[in-house]
């Protein structure tokens, strides 16, 4: 599994006033890995995520994606490296149809004909065909999440960053999302920020636990769920 390091942060820090949301984080992601970031609320995982995608410019430290220094770059420059991004709150084009949403993603990378067939394939793959002409703004929350995932899929990224992809989904939808993530992982290296332990077990990967802006532990889910420190930060009481 360990090949080349494709994403690396060195002493990455993001401070808001006196709050150290992310504090000197050194993080490595290897090629073809599926890594989950977990941690209690306010642990800094979403801030860390935003630093990776260029949505926030870190206070200090570096983000390197392959050979590209992504620190403080514009989000579109990071995306252009071939990085597919899904944000925490579904970020979609509400006034446009499902199909147009997907097409806009495919067309960034491909010519006219290829992007059309890619859009068709993506709609089929994510079972969005029946609602292809519906405005995304009128869809249910879970469906909007899927449209956003569809946009990520249609861009055929080699690196995928997902922030809470299963948030607000029904159990069935969550299972389908887990399947999709495993499928995407065949061709892409991935980081998934998640709350839901159940979901992380489903995609069974290496897990990084954030706590107070720093990495607490990094291991498989089995080791992590047995770790007393993790229980402590999640449940908030001391070991007996």
């Amino acid at each position: 599994m360990r090949g080349e390091i494709v994403l690396e942060t060195r002493n990455l820090s993001m401070h808001f006033g006196g709050v150290k949301a992310v504090d000197r984080v050194n993080f490595n992601l290897w090629e073809n890995e599926l890594r989950c970031l977990i941690g209690p609320n306010g642990a800094g995982k979403s801030t860390f995520f935003k630093c990776l995608t260029g949505q926030l410019a870190p206070t200090a430290g570096e983000v390197v994606i392959r050979d590209f220094t992504a620190t403080g770059r514009e989000p579109h420059e990071v995306a252009r490296l071939g990085v597919g991004i899904k944000t925490q709150v579904p970020s979609v084009f509400d006034g446009l149809t499902v199909e147009e949403n997907i097409w806009l993603s495919a067309r960034k990378w491909h010519g006219r004909a290829r992007s059309q067939s890619l859009t068709r394939d993506t709609l089929e793959r994510l079972q969005l065909g029946d609602i292809r002409s519906d405005l995304v703004g009128r869809l249910a929350h879970g469906q909007r999440q899927w449209v956003e995932l569809g946009m990520v899929v249609a861009a055929e990224p080699w690196l995928v960053l997902l922030d809470e992809p299963a948030a607000g989904m029904t159990h069935e939808e969550t299972e389908r999302t887990a399947d999709l993530i495993r499928e995407m992982n065949r061709t892409a290296t991935m980081i998934v920020v998640e709350h839901d332990m159940q979901f992380i077990r489903m995609i069974s990967s290496r897990v990084t636990v954030f706590h107070e802006g720093q990495i607490l532990i990094e291991d498989t889910m089995d080791v992590i769920s047995a770790d007393p420190r993790v229980r402590e930060v999640y449940l908030g009481h001391r070991r007996q």
Binding site: T53, S91, V92, D94, E100, K108
Partner: protein
């Protein structure tokens, strides 16, 4: 995306426009034709704002800055060059260049929507105060005196191959209608290109467009510059219709009117704001002859009425009714068919035959 139906409508609009162009000079008085030329100029301004605000989501409160600069640049260049062909080109370039420079600072400086409106409005008012103060003989560009608040007399358009044969008013009307129709076709084409669809996507969600890898600043700048050029063309026609250009083109109430046309006509359409500009142009000029009520009072009431009562604007609302009516009729037909089938099964063979 299904453009088929929308484009059939657009073809119809172009045909109606062309027919109007051919019929109007024969059917209407010269005075009306000259007036119409001014209305067409304003319609081009409305079209430019329909494009950048309605499709691109860029609220430019000072679209008249490009319109006025186009008029001034055309006039000054035409006086200096003797002919108007190059003057037209200069005017479009000046308007577009000003939009590009202003847009560069706004979009690359990541200025938010509200401040965008304030900055563009301020730019217009600065131009107003600047040009109003140019009344001395020392304020001239080449041979052209800027003339302060009196403005400058604009040389009428001439044929490109004959600099000394000026166009008659009805010919300027033809040029104007042609410019408006071509402008409309251009915008309709543009919003269906990859560039146009990304611009609409940016209106919907700029962050998402960036996360897909689009440099939204560049797209907005491009669209804004195109809008500036279109408004500049409107300015050229405007000073041809009126015969002169004064600093009034940069006035606050004029820039506000452009916004009102778009709100009344309907954001997100191209034809709506054009119709809105025509309608309100005639309302205001009719009120001007009445002098019974204040013009601005009526415009204000119209604006409030539309914002509260018809927030989507005229055209989208009418299209909405049309669609609702059509789906209702389709549903009624379906119901009737169902009822007939059910009735047919229950009734005797003789009745069914009678019905058939």
């Amino acid at each position: 995306m299904n453009w088929g139906r929308e484009n059939r409508w657009r073809v119809a609009v172009v045909i109606v426009g062309l027919a109007f162009t051919l019929i109007a000079p024969a059917a209407l008085q010269l005075f009306t034709i000259i007036n119409l030329t001014t209305a067409i100029a304003l319609a081009l301004l409305a079209l430019s704002l329909a494009l950048i605000w309605g499709y691109g989501g860029i609220l430019c409160f000072g679209q008249t800055a490009f319109f006025g600069l186009g008029a001034y640049a055309y006039t000054v260049a035409a006086i200096n060059f003797g002919g108007t062909t190059w003057a037209v080109l200069v005017a479009v370039l000046v308007a577009a260049a000003f939009a590009a420079v202003l847009g560069y600072f706004v979009f690359y400086g990541r200025v938010s929507d509200v401040y965008m409106a304030v900055i563009t409005l301020t730019a217009t008012l600065i131009l107003y105060n600047l040009i109003r103060r140019t009344s001395g003989p020392e304020y001239k560009i080449g041979h052209a005196l800027l003339g302060g608040f009196n403005g400058v007399t604009s040389p009428p358009l001439n044929l490109p191959w004959a600099p000394y044969s000026m166009l008659f008013p009805q010919h300027v009307f033809y040029v104007g209608m042609l410019a408006l129709i071509l402008g409309y076709i251009f915008c309709a084409w543009l919003v269906q290109t990859h560039f146009g669809r990304v611009s609409v996507a940016i209106r919907e969600n700029e962050t998402r467009a960036e996360l897909l890898g689009y440099d939204t600043r560049l797209y907005k700048l491009g669209l804004f510059t195109i809008g500036g050029a279109l408004a500049g063309i409107g300015g050229i026609l405007f000073c041809n219709g009126v015969g002169r250009v004064t600093p009034d083109v940069f006035r606050l109430d004029f820039s506000a009117q452009a916004i009102i046309w778009v709100i009344v006509g309907g954001r997100g359409t191209l034809l709506g704001p054009v119709l809105g500009s025509f309608a309100l142009f005639y309302v205001t000029s009719w009120l001007g002859t009445q002098s019974a009520v204040n013009n601005y009072l009526v415009l204000g009431i119209i604006l409030i009425a539309f914002v509260l009562g018809v927030p989507r604007g005229l055209l989208p609302t009418v299209v909405g009714w049309w669609d609702a009516g059509r789906s209702r009729r389709a549903m009624q037909r379906r119901e009737m068919r169902l009822r007939r089938r059910r009735g047919g099964r229950a009734s005797t063979a003789g009745e069914a035959a009678h019905e058939g």
